[in-house]
């Protein structure tokens, strides 16, 4: 690896795209640089489940050819990206982090993948994740854990931990993740990145292997707000293949990210997302971020969302209920793992043996929870009640957004915890998503923005910014303005300030 190409991995997506457009570097060179970086460090980080070197280089050369022919290319053409292994990519192994899908090569592209390809974005490979996106540490991957590039003994968060670690470790300038209860924002916070859960319905779910259909949403990881916006703009927009996709223009996220101005914006601090369980270092950085917003000209007020306290239990009924149905199809009949088919066993025995062998403990736990919650006689008490709570939480948001433009909170109660620390304590693990779940239940947009490192452990802290449905641009406006102020303080994005690997 030459110094010149090694430097390519340090560029932001925006910088790299400019260099590509100017002809200073080819997509093939940029791709090779990132593939080399992966080859050098990923045995320690464990961000990837599958590196598609051949496919990535072919895609890069195609972009270079098109550029040479003078074709009009998208703003991210030739920029490499890491994709969470929960989105289908034609011909490329897709596992959702589960043994039950080991070896499956989808015959079709997810809409997000199709849009990345159409935009000339080079997909380096598929990133590690908690099995079927169920978890907050990526330790529920059936394959291997992923390590936080800030401290390899710590988790990168989850479930999109592989995507976060890949960007934090400079294996890719961009990544796509999915967020059902915080699975983009929480790992972004733990890895010092920008991560966005777009408005539900803003990005197509077609080809996203479903965990919880009414909550799942794909979104960007990046080291800067502008990069996240550029990726957001590529993958978002109406898709007739997803009935829940919103038929409305994509909010002007890139322009908002570049505005660097929050004067006159009204910011609400959510009273309920603080206090018990939140580390003091996290709260300190959060308070500083709120103060900074005030100094930048925003009006900051405290708002109350009284039902947010019920969000976590409601989520742990709705998401498992939907997953118990969504994951039924993994029955050994058509694809993936098949166990116990000895020519004698009946179909139900084979289904049962396959699911027993193919699903991990957390997935089974949630299938069982959800099956119970939907059972006749319990439906009203569990699923029905949880849906009512969901309505109340949406009303809290609606009332708050009458007073303010965005809401803020810490993204997570704590910084990255140690690998193994919470694996035997599911409830402790669930608490990692305490602050992120309400936005999923509501369907609005939310971002995690790096707001410094905790004085206690030197690990990144995330600021969560939330906005109403279809007002994703507000996240980028607030995030972009704050980031500009931080870059002045820190001398660069937080992601560039981590320890070298």
């Amino acid at each position: 690896m030459t110094t010149a190409t090694a430097g390519l991995t340090r560029l932001t997506a925006s910088e790299l795209a400019a260099a590509l457009a100017a002809g200073e570097v080819s997509a093939a060179e940029a791709t090779t640089a990132h593939l080399d970086r992966i080859a050098t460090i990923d045995d320690r980080v464990g961000a990837f489940l599958h590196v598609d070197a051949d496919g990535a280089l072919a895609g890069a050369r195609d972009v270079d050819d098109r550029r040479a022919r003078g074709e009009a290319l998208g703003p991210l053409a030739g920029v490499p990206l890491a994709c969470k292994d929960v989105l289908t990519q034609r011909g490329v192994p897709t596992t959702a982090g589960s043994k039950i899908l080991e070896g499956w090569r989808p015959p079709y592209d997810a809409t997000v993948v199709a849009r990345l390809r159409a935009g000339g974005v080079v997909i380096l490979g598929k990133t590690n994740m908690d099995e079927f996106a169920m978890g907050s540490s990526t330790e529920n991957s059936a394959y291997h854990p992923t390590h936080n590039p800030w401290d390899l003994d710590r988790v990168p968060g989850g479930s999109s931990g592989g995507s976060a670690a890949a960007v934090a470790a400079f294996e890719a300038p961009l990544a796509v993740g999915t967020d059902t209860g915080g699975s983009i924002r929480q790992p972004a916070a733990l890895c010092g990145l920008v991560g966005v859960k777009p408005t539900y319905g803003g990005v197509s779910r077609y080809g996203l292997i479903a965990f919880s259909s009414s909550l799942d949403q794909a979104g960007p990881f990046a080291r800067t707000v502008e990069d996240a916006a550029l990726l957001h703009a590529v993958i978002a927009g109406h898709d007739p293949l997803d009935s829940t996709s919103i038929d409305a223009p994509v909010p002007p996220v890139v322009a908002a990210a570049r505005r660097h101005d929050v004067a006159g914006m009204r910011v609400g601090v959510v009273r309920e997302l603080a206090g018990e369980g939140y580390q003091s270092g996290v709260e300190q950085r959060f308070r500083e971020a709120v103060d900074l917003l005030g100094r930048l000209g925003a009006t900051v007020v405290e708002v109350s969302c009284p039902h947010f306290g019920y969000a976590l239990p409601a989520y742990y009924l709705i998401a498992p209920s939907e997953c118990s149905s969504n994951l039924a199809r993994f029955d050994a009949m058509r694809y993936g793992l098949r166990v116990g088919d000895d020519g004698v066993a009946g179909v139900e025995e084979v289904m049962s043996a396959t699911r027993a062998a193919g699903f991990g403990a957390e997935v089974k736990r949630r299938i069982i929870l959800g099956t119970y919650a939907l059972s006749s006689g319990y439906y009203d008490a569990y699923y029905g009640q949880a849906q009512k709570v969901r309505t109340l939480i949406s009303r809290d948001f609606a009332a708050a957004y009458e007073q303010v433009d965005v809401l803020v909170s810490p993204t997570t109660p704590t910084t990255a915890f140690r690998l193994g620390e919470r694996v035997d304590d599911p409830l402790a693990m669930y608490l990692a998503d305490l602050a992120t779940i309400p936005a999923n239940l509501d369907g609005g947009a939310a971002m995690s923005l790096p707001c410094g490192v905790s004085p206690a452990d030197g690990l990144p802290v995330g600021l969560q910014i939330m906005a109403p449905a279809l007002a994703d641009d507000r996240l980028y406006r607030v995030g972009g303005a704050l980031e500009a102020a931080y870059v002045e303080q820190w001398g660069g994005p937080l992601a560039t300030k981590g320890p070298p690997l």
Binding site: L87, T88, T94, A96, L101, W104, P106, P107, Y108, A110, R205, Y206, G207, L208, I209, A210, S212, S213, S214, P240, L241, D242, S243, T244, S321, E322, S324, S325, A328, R329, F330, D331, M333, R334, Y335, V347, E348, M351, T371, L374, S375, S376, Y379, Y383
Partner: protein, 496 residues
Amino acid sequence: MTFADAMARYAPVLGLETHVELGTASKMFCGCSTKFGAPPNTHVCPTCLGLPGSLPVTNETAIRFTVMIGLALQCEIAPWCRFARKNYFYPDMPKDFQISQYDEPLCTDGHLDVVVAGEAFRVEIERVHLEEDTGKTLHVGGATGRIHGATHSLVDYNRAGIPLVEIVTKPVAGTGAAAPEVARAYVTELRELLRTLGVSDVRMEQGSLRCDVNTSLMPVGATAYGTRTETKNVNSLRSVERAVRSEIERQAGLLDAGRRIVQETRHWHEDSGTTSAGRSKEQAEDYRYFPEPDLVPLAPTREWVEQLRAGLPELPAARRRRLADELGASAAELAAMGNAGVLGLVADTAAAGAPAAEARNFWLGYLLQKANEAGLDDPAELAITPAQVARVIVLVAAGILTATLARQVIDGVLAGEGDPDDVVATRGLQAVSDTDELGAAVDAAIDGQPAVAAKVRAGKVAAAGALVGAVMKATNGQANAAVVRQLILERLDGGG
């Protein structure tokens, strides 16, 4: 236990669940073709195979068709409703849940009137809802094609995801001994209605219309319904009637013996005319229904529904009333045509230029016989059009065909030999009206039956029929009977 014995002691209560595959070009939630008979697993895509990540998109034509069915059955149309997931594991169901409707059906509370032996029965409709069909499982290696004894099974997902409308009646009580006929008349009328709406090809033998019949008995005079059984695979109109009759006899026998009816699914066997026990429904399976999160709610606007209502074609009952007037048919003739399913065919034949009475005779006579011989539930499935039948009738009236020749022409059309005129030409079926040609045969008939000839000569003209018959026989039915009669009377008129 005979049926009459059963009816003396018990009152039957029926319930009919009819599944109708809609005749949309594409499936319920994806763009795959619905065409019947394609090689296995060729009409499939990620969505109807339930591949990970795939999502459903609702077929708007299927929604329209379902609302049309609801309107034709006088149902209320829900202003807002959702699909639900019905969860259960089965290999022919790609997602291991079926997208269906549960407590929010698209159409509710309608009715369909039927007439049996001159008596009208109103069948109340509980609901009409939309769902997706499953794939088909083929059990290989066993003797019966059933799962027992099979070495392995194959699944064809071509059918998976085809839009399926389920029409459920409320309990049908008060029919007494007419229950089997009421069941048949209901399915017949429903099929006619669906065909008129153009929403399905309603072919029972291909499974595009499938019927499950719930049957229970209670002692005559009782009001509390008995335990019901659900008979599946009832795939012809005749079978609907037979299955109800058989199940009534079976249940009455058990009740008389002091035994209880087990709530269960029963399979209908066409060959033996009996049912056998299937899955017990004593422990109801928990389908864990919940609203389908991958689809947005359906919200048919009042305006759109009224537009559809205004655009409905003339429905069978109204059509029958109009045709009765137009065809000048008596109530009995009308009932005969209705029961045989030929009313529309007769009307179309008359409209194509045949006298109504002749059209009725052809369809209720030879053509119905051909349909029965071919095992067709529906004479409309015969490979002859009303226009072709009308042409045959016109040829008979013109003396070009005899009744016997007309049948041969129909046979030829059914055999795919072309239009009636083609068959007449290629088979050489013109009636013989040439007096010179017929003279010898007439003479032979008179010579052969001198006693009959003498009677005719003595003025008993009616006796000439025997001589005409002899000539027809001698000419293999090709002689024009009117011309033959004329020749006979001329020869025997005072001449001897």
